[in-house]
């Protein structure tokens, strides 16, 4: 209980720090006001309109007051409309989040589906042919930039073989499952392969250690079959690093899949954010950062609980 209170306190501090920095950051952007006016495109050419606009964004208030307004708006969900007037910020973020979350989940799932069996087999025969092969392939994935992968796969799968659309549309799963699959397949793969490479490396090395533990020998001595030893006994206690990495990636992927999103014309949160920066949609960016911070903090919180499931010793805090 006290532990959770403490975690909660940390959560609050983190959120405070993030919102505060984000609110402050606007002041550090060069020519923020001019950029906003240019982005607004109209209604601001004369001084009066200009001032009206800037005042309406609280841009000329003292820092702390600006922060106050910012938090107030955040909490009351009064996020307003993008500067270009296209969309309410809340819609933009929730649409983007919808796409990015799905992409993240699919990417992670595929990455794990590839990484776990590969890592298990590599660890089982560590130093063997498959181990060395998978190591090389992992690094291949890790060191190939997403956009190169996206381009190459795109050329093959969309133009040459016409298996998947070149640009993905956000088709709902329940509306058209097959279209949904077709549209999300390539982005997912491009996202998943480098992840799979990294995950495999992590899990493999932990598994190699676990496989040397006494309790694995115990299991062998009981006559447990090899697959069962690997998946039933060794896997779960080896998942710590992987879970930690995957958890950190939740936040990173939700906001950071710009490359993949751009390559497949998917309008996820990452792409929206980067475009937002280019289009001087500072408020959209600010709020996105806060949302992503929340995603991070919440995942972390959940992962803490997940640790407890992975290893019951954590529950009583023995692993500290």
């Amino acid at each position: 209980m006290r532990y959770f209170l403490r975690k909660l306190l940390q959560l609050v501090i983190v959120v405070f720090a993030v919102t505060f920095t984000v609110s402050l950051a606007l002041g550090a952007i060069p020519y923020a006001e001019e950029r906003i006016i240019a982005a607004k495109g109209s209604g601001a050419i004369n001084e009066e309109e200009k001032n009206k606009l800037l005042d309406s964004l609280n841009l000329r208030e003292p820092t702390l007051v600006q922060y106050g307004y910012f938090v107030g708006d955040l909490v009351t969900l009064d996020w307003g409309v993008t500067l270009n007037g296209n969309q309410p910020i809340s819609t933009s973020i929730s649409d983007g989040l919808g796409i990015s979350l799905r992409l993240m989940i699919y990417g992670q799932l595929v990455a794990l589906l590839i990484a776990i069996p590969a890592a298990v087999f590599a660890a089982y025969r560590s130093g063997g042919l498959f181990d060395r092969f998978s190591t090389t392939v992992s690094f291949g994935f890790i060191s190939t930039p997403n956009y190169v992968l996206a381009t190459i796969l795109g050329l093959l799968f969309t133009v040459r073989w016409k298996l998947f659309p070149a640009i993905s549309t956000d088709v709902g799963f329940f509306e058209a499952p097959w279209d949904h699959f077709r549209n999300f397949f390539l982005p997912t793969i491009v996202l998943a392969l480098p992840l799979a490479g990294a995950y495999m490396r992590l899990l493999r090395s932990d598994l190699v250690n676990t496989l040397q533990s006494d309790f694995i020998t115990t299991a062998r001595a009981k006559g447990v079959s090899t697959p069962r030893i690997l998946f039933g006994h060794a896997l779960r206690p080896s998942l710590f690093s992987l879970v930690t990495a995957a958890a950190v990636n939740v936040g990173a992927l939700v906001g950071g899949s710009v490359v993949v999103e751009t390559a497949f014309n998917l309008n996820g949160l990452g792409r929206r954010t980067v475009l937002g920066i280019f289009a001087s949609e500072f408020r959209l960016v600010q709020i996105t950062v806060v949302i992503l911070a929340l995603v991070y903090v919440i995942t972390n919180f959940l992962v803490d609980i997940l640790y407890g499931f992975l290893d019951p010793r954590v529950r009583v805090g023995r692993l500290g």
């Binding site: 006494d214 309790f215 001595a221």
Partner: protein, 351 residues
């Protein structure tokens, strides 16, 4: 394999025959001759102790017999006949059928030997479900019975617990229960009490002994503590540098040890009967390097009785009396032995 069947089959004869067994490890530093030509046999229901210094190959010997060794960089020789079946050439699949069912093993550290993330109940039921194909309920029933047998209070509660929630003694009992689950005909216990308190150690040793007797199970008890084997075995093997240097019925060994190493080992134990500040006898030098063991008798560099012969000629196992073998040129009681005793100002039997 039901307990009844095993009981019938156990009536007579040899359970295990180990012939010139050797296990070497190819390491970057050279070939480690962890077990180097070991021959002995084990009868049904017999309790055998293996003692020796740390690193002399006790663990590797017991694992070599079971065939439970790392896959890589291991060089194995010799033969292990279990009930007349050769184990060394058996496929992994077939060995997995024997492990846990016919031969079981418990280890030194019960904390690390239990899966930290699997419930006790599930771990206990695993051998039953694998070897006997028990259903969940069926297995649970047997497990509860086993837990009672090994003296665990509130067995139902334990099934849902994890290893870390139990005391060291209880963990070792769980290990034992797990080993006993399928009614094996031999139990290898590798230093089962080293990590435990003396009080708990006594309980566990009693338990193992009781279970062996009850189930007519053979026991291989590996330890470096002569006190532990003294009370709980019928026969003892003393190992040094991967080889058997002495083998004798327990009582004989303690009363008529032949090998100077056994003697030294025995003398270095502080005894309750001795008054405080009694000076202990020590064995000088270092344990041998298993990559390049000394020529001749491996113990010769540390042996007070060693002569040139010892450093050149490796002693063969010779018989002192039936069932008592030793490998020494100048055994306890020999002339040379007496000479040195006198020169050291000691009389035989220690102090």
């Amino acid at each position: 394999m039901s307990t009844l069947q095993t009981a019938v089959r156990r009536e007579t004869g040899t359970l295990l025959e180990i012939e010139d067994l050797a296990t070497h490890f190819a390491t970057p530093g050279g070939v480690v001759r962890a077990v180097d030509g070991v021959t002995f046999s084990l009868d049904h229901g017999q309790r055998l102790g293996i003692v020796g210094e740390s690193g002399c190959g006790k663990t590797i010997l017991s694992r070599s017999i079971m065939g439970l060794l790392p896959r890589r960089n291991v060089i194995r020789k010799g033969s292990v006949l279990f009930e007349g079946t050769e184990l060394t050439t058996m496929s992994l699949k077939d060995r997995q059928k024997i492990w846990g069912a016919e031969m079981a093993m418990i280890f030194q550290d019960p904390m690390t030997s239990l899966n930290p993330v699997m419930k006790i109940g599930k771990q206990l039921a695993e051998p039953l479900r694998i070897h006997l194909g028990s259903t969940r309920e069926n297995a649970q029933e047997i497990v509860l019975k086993l837990l009672q047998d090994v003296g665990i209070p509130e067995p139902e509660k334990r099934l849902e617990q994890y290893a870390h929630e139990l005391s060291g003694g209880m963990r070792q009992r769980i290990m034992i229960a797990m080993a006993l689950a399928c009614g094996p005909s031999v139990l290898f216990a590798d230093e089962p009490t080293t990590a435990l308190d003396v009080t708990v150690q006594a309980q566990i040793l009693d338990l193992i002994e009781d279970q062996c007797r009850e189930r007519e199970m053979a026991l291989v008890l590996v330890t470096h503590d002569l006190g532990v084997v003294a009370g709980h075995t019928d026969q003892i093997i003393v190992m040094y540098a991967g080889k058997i240097v002495e083998i004798a019925p327990t009582a004989t060994l303690f009363s008529k040890m032949k090998m100077p190493y056994t003697e030294a080992l025995f003398q270095s134990i502080p005894k309750l009967a001795d008054p405080s500040h009694t000076r202990l006898t020590t064995i000088g030098g270092r344990p041998p390097n298993l990559v390049a063991p000394p020529d001749g008798c491996s113990f010769s560099p540390r042996c007070p009785y060693a002569t040139d012969t010892c450093t050149k000629v490796e002693p063969e196992l010779q018989q002192a009396e039936p069932g008592h073998l030793f490998a020494c040129h100048y055994p306890v009681g020999s002339d040379r032995w007496n000479e040195v005793q006198v020169s050291l100002g000691r009389r035989s039997g220690g102090h």
